[in-house]
């Protein structure tokens, strides 16, 4: 099926922007994706017709705001194939993982083990190291294969009867590798461990069916899913949320407060202390609806075609090497590469002069950079609105950097 990329592009006004007489070739979607009119309109509509605080207000604007906010929760839940009351709005992916590390982490005791990997973003490493300092848990890490995948062959060695949680990246923000979730879940079940996936890079590529994945926690970031920033979501099985103590205290998360003690609201309210990011949540709901309306099979094929174009193009540039899978199997449209003799920041700066936006550096994955003895990589990360013109501009810029900077 043909994917009408031009029609998708028309929904994103920023893609028509001209800077220094050049169009934008936005290939930094892994950091933040752009936002379609449907999301911008939903946020503007809330701000101009329904802006008020949610929950306890009895006036009509408050009722409208509450309805939109809870509607957004239902949109996110539908996108993930789960129940709305299992969705907790957070500030983002990092906030969601920290929530689990603090709250579920309180249920862990000294000597319990959490298993992560060398492929993780710092946001799925540091919160567990901090929990280790607080609670005396042990932290283990799965190694990474030479082609940038989590080495699941090491699972039997690293899962122990003390392993309580396995927290892994669903799609790598550096290599684009897709995790074999089934294998992880099967291994986890043998010792009764829970499984959490960092879905920051997977969620922007179409709806999920979390119950069939068999995981226990899932996190996503709004700004990577074509939504506003400052919003994200945690999904957890309802029985886990019920068992978890609150993370932050304040308004909205309580059942009853006296000066002597407080009882807490049921989930998800228990984990949403204070006034939530209402407009951003409504925007995330609209983004989930927008994503649900796209033909993701065609969009995925389209983006994999772009990945192939990058892989082929880099092959013809001397000293360009991919960090990640060389094939299109079980991967998503994130491509990291190094150019021998040219620092990634210099590649990225050169690309900027061609109107190409990419990210360069360690991508908040320093243990992975250490694993491959790299200072960093240059990363092109794609979205459905990218086209062959974006990739050709990328390759032209990389060739220019190769010819002038070494």
């Amino acid at each position: 099926m043909t994917f009408d990329v031009a029609a998708v592009r028309r929904e994103f006004p920023i893609l028509s922007e001209i800077i220094d007489d050049r169009p934008i070739h936005y290939l930094d979607n892994g950091a933040s994706a752009q936002t379609p009119l449907a999301v911008l309109d939903a946020v503007r509509r809330y701000e101009t017709t329904s802006r008020a605080n949610v929950l306890r207000g009895v006036h009509r604007l408050a009722e409208r705001a509450t309805e939109l906010y809870e509607g957004a929760r239902a949109d996110v839940a539908r996108f993930l194939g789960v129940q709305p009351m299992e969705i907790v709005f957070t500030g983002g992916c990092t906030a969601a993982i920290n929530l689990v590390a603090h709250s579920y982490g309180q249920l862990l005791k000294r000597g319990d083990r959490v298993l992560i990997s060398e492929l993780e973003h710092h946001s799925n490493i540091v919160p567990w190291q901090m929990l280790r300092l607080r609670s005396g848990i042990e932290l283990d890490a799965l190694p990474v294969t030479p082609d940038g995948r989590i080495d699941l062959a090491a699972l039997p060695k690293l899962i122990t009867p003390e392993t309580r949680l396995i927290s892994l990246v669903h799609v790598s923000n550096v290599t684009g590798a897709l995790l074999d979730v089934r294998k992880v879940v099967e291994a986890a079940r043998t010792v009764g461990a829970k499984v959490m996936l960092d879905g920051a890079q997977r969620a922007p590529h179409g709806p999920l069916d979390l119950p069939s994945l068999g995981v226990d926690f899932y996190v996503l970031a709004g700004h990577k899913c074509y939504g506003p920033n400052g919003i994200g979501a945690l999904w957890a099985r309802s029985e886990l949320l019920e068992a978890m103590p609150p993370f932050m205290g304040g308004g909205s998360m309580i059942a009853r407060v006296t000066l002597a003690e407080t009882t807490f609201a049921p989930p998800p309210r228990r984990f949403e202390a204070g006034t939530p990011p209402i407009g951003p949540a409504i925007g995330l709901g609209a983004a989930c609806r927008w994503m649900a309306g796209l033909d993701w099979s065609a969009a995925h094929d389209h983006q994999m075609g772009l990945v192939q174009r990058v892989l082929d193009g880099l092959q013809d540039i001397e000293g360009a090497r991919i960090l990640g899978p060389a094939s299109l199997q079980n991967r998503y449209p994130v491509v990291s590469f190094v150019l021998d003799g040219v620092h990634p920041h210099d590649v990225a700066q050169t690309l900027d002069s061609f109107g190409v936006a990419v990210r360069a550096g360690h991508h908040c994955a320093q243990p992975l950079m250490d694993r491959f003895d790299l200072d960093g990589t240059t990363r092109a990360s794609m979205a459905p609105y990218n086209d062959t013109g974006d990739i050709d501009a990328l390759l032209t810029g990389v060739r220019h950097a190769a010819n002038t900077l070494r």
């Binding site: 220094d20 920041h345 210099d346 700066q349 002069s353 550096g361 320093q366």
Partner: protein, 134 residues
């Protein structure tokens, strides 16, 4: 535009690799990392009477950082901490953080003035050297 940024003088400075390497018996050493981008500079100095007699640097960083370290190595010998501070003022003038005209070789960094995200690339070698001298 990066073509403006990566002018021949900066590229030549970086490729000169002036002072690149280690000293066999440094008086002081220091390492500075830029946590935002992961660039790293290690500086060795041999001091005589409070002044730099020899200097060497290892840079794991971008072209701007390499060029700055080379320019620093070319100008730091014979200077004490106050003298190095003068060089830093020159670099800061070049990138537009201080007013006035920068002198050679740091005037080569004038194209960096419009790229604020890259200022730290130029200053990181200075910060490592200042640590070594403190």
């Amino acid at each position: 535009m990066s073509d403006e940024l990566y002018q021949a003088r900066i590229v030549t400075l970086a490729k000169s690799k002036t002072g690149a390497g280690k000293l066999s018996a440094p008086t002081r050493s220091a390492r500075r990392d830029n946590p935002l981008c992961g660039d790293r500079v290690m500086i060795d100095v041999k001091l005589e009477g409070g002044r730099i007699a020899e200097i060497a640097h290892q840079v794991r960083g971008c072209l701007l950082c390499q060029a700055s370290a080379a320019a620093l190595a070319a100008t730091a010998v014979g200077r004490d901490a106050a003298g190095v501070a003068e060089l830093r003022h020159d670099a800061e003038r070049a990138i537009g953080r201080e007013s006035g005209k920068a002198h050679e070789p740091f005037d080569a960094f004038e194209p960096v003035a419009n790229h604020k995200s890259r200022h730290e690339c130029v200053l990181l070698p200075f910060e490592a050297l200042e640590d070594a001298l403190s």
